[in-house]
């Protein structure tokens, strides 16, 4: 049995597929909610089966010109219809979508990434309405990032619009986008992590309760969050006759467009600016001299070039605002810049967007508690490690934070890096370094093995050292390692 390739939603072998003679098929684990179709992988290629029950809407997407419009505007991933054996019964056709380099989730986005994903969804809904269609899903998981831009990935999210029908995904949009954004903007930016515990989006009663009372004075938030939460509470048990009467209420297309525009204005009005101190120049706050910084840049570039083949996927762990990530991304490697600090990720994203940079995706990630597999069977949304391995891992100015800041034994740290990818560029920061001294200033030194010899011995179990270079004008050492 072959393993499914990395960077796609979790897949498992599907006994239902009529394809035992064709090739091993892996059906997407997080792709079961919608009967319109599902994702599967065969021979390492990602496909989406479109079921006959959705045929009418799928054909309308193409015939209405909406598909062409979305592709021309680079708002949705393109696909081609392929003549291959279906992976399940009831197939209308099989499509092969263009592959996204790395799948990310809303609880990993910075504020502006989240905001741009929301605005993309509303733009897609607007264009759909212009073409006589409507979005039946407004899930944040239908948006991914590519070259500093959000892109819609679910081709099966469209339905023919029926005049007078309310927007079925209105509540979902608020739960997946507006609620989290309002909480991030008006309460605490770290509350995006609530999306990790609520895979169906944030419950509206909870969002309304967590938001400050003054948000009642914000027209958009009053309408779309507080009143909606109240309406939902009031009608929660309207399953019977009253529910039917309610369903008969019509919403004109003009009103629907007004709702979408109002949601757009509300999302645009939400801002987040980190405290002035956090916006400071991150790299000035380190203890590097200009010469040391320059030398470290040169060494990282040299090490990458020494790998022989250019790494396809690079994970920069503890990337800060991405100064070193860019050494890889500018060489054409698909580079993911992870950092714990939402302000650093925000700054990195805004820079990428402004400069229209390619191949770089910044994400919020706490390496001491990386994204787990969540949802049904723990595999609707992948853990960080199951989205790997990367071809190259960068761990610069990171080891002391994990080993001393979080008590991770050096051997465990090496094992984690080995799980992340086969090549590693890692920086050893000694105890005599001012950054480590700062970490140890407020606590007892219980790290007798944290020495360069101890570091090398611990890493030797998992890696072989290919290069070892001291960084000029510092006490730090940079290594290029290869997994054993």
């Amino acid at each position: 049995m072959t393993n499914p390739p990395s960077n796609v939603p979790d897949f498992h072998s599907d006994p239902r597929g009529p394809d035992e003679t064709v090739a091993e098929t892996f059906r997407g684990c997080g792709s079961f909610r919608d009967p319109s179709g599902f994702l599967f992988q065969r021979d390492g290629i990602l496909y989406r089966q479109v079921n006959t029950c959705y045929a009418e809407h799928f054909d309308a997407l193409i015939d209405s010109g909406l598909y062409r419009k979305l592709i021309d505007k680079n708002l949705m991933v393109a696909h081609e219809v392929v003549p291959i054996e279906p992976a399940g019964p009831g197939a209308h056709c099989i499509i092969k979508p263009r592959r996204i380099g790395f799948i990310s989730y809303p609880y990993e986005w910075s504020f502006s990434q989240y905001r741009d994903a929301a605005l993309l969804t509303l733009r897609v809904q607007q264009l759909a309405l212009e073409h006589g269609m409507v979005l039946k899903d407004a899930s944040a998981y239908n948006v991914q990032f590519e070259n500093g831009r959000p892109i819609f990935i679910d081709t099966l999210s469209f339905e023919r619009y029926v005049e007078g029908e309310p927007w079925i995904a209105y509540g979902q949009f608020v739960q997946h986008f507006l609620g989290p954004l309002a909480l991030m903007s008006r309460r605490d930016v770290r509350l995006s992590s609530l999306m990790r515990t609520h895979i169906g989006g944030l419950p509206l009663d909870m969002t309304a309760e967590l938001l400050p009372h003054r948000t009642m004075l914000h027209f958009g938030l009053l309408m779309h969050v507080h009143l909606l939460a109240r309406s939902q509470r009031r009608h929660a048990d309207d399953a019977g006759a009253e529910g039917k009467a309610v369903a008969a209420r019509k919403v004109s297309k003009h009103a629907l467009l007004a709702i979408v525009q109002s949601l757009q204005n509300t999302v645009k009005s939400l801002r987040w600016t980190p405290a002035a101190s956090e916006w400071g120049d991150y790299y000035d706050a380190t203890n590097y001299s200009d010469a040391a910084m320059k030398h470290k840049h040169e060494l990282v570039a040299t090490f990458i070039d020494q790998l022989g083949t250019l790494p396809g996927l690079v994970w920069d762990l503890g990337a800060n605002t991405g100064s070193f990530s860019r050494i890889a991304s500018q060489r054409g490697c698909n580079t993911i810049a992870f950092d714990l600090d939402p302000a650093a990720v925000e700054k990195n994203y805004l820079h990428i967007k402004k400069q229209k940079e390619q191949n770089l995706l910044p994400l919020v990630m706490d390496l001491t508690n990386p994204s787990p597999g969540i949802g049904w069977r723990n595999c609707e949304r992948d853990s960080l490690l199951s989205r790997g391995p990367a071809d190259l891992v960068l761990a610069l100015a990171l080891v002391h934070h994990l080993a001393i800041g979080n008590n991770v034994p050096l051997g465990d740290l090496a094992a984690f890096f080995a799980d992340c990818g086969p090549h590693l560029i890692v920086e050893y920061v000694p105890k005599s370094d001012s950054q480590v001294k700062r970490l140890l200033a407020t606590r007892r030194d219980i790290f007798p093995h944290y020495t360069q010899d101890g570091f090398e011995a611990a890493f030797a179990l998992h890696f072989e050292v290919l290069q070892r270079q001291p960084i000029a004008e510092s006490q730090r050492v940079l290594y290029l390692m290869k997994k054993r």
Partner: protein, 57 residues
């Protein structure tokens, strides 16, 4: 009650759209009329037209 609200988010969200949609559509209509009147008056003084769509983007 709250648990139900979480399980069945649809009904409340569908109902409120009739109300919210009505209010917002009315506001939008007023805004469009106001913009038209403004453009008409500006037009009298020979000012260049600005597309409503573009200016709100």
């Amino acid at each position: 009650m709250l648990q139900l609200a979480y399980l069945d988010p649809a009904t409340g969200a569908m109902i409120i759209q009739a109300v919210v949609g009505g209010v917002l559509a009315a506001l939008l209509t007023v805004k469009l009329w106001f913009t038209r009147v403004k453009l008409f008056i500006l037009g009298l003084f020979g000012r260049k037209h600005v597309s409503d769509d573009e200016s709100t983007e």
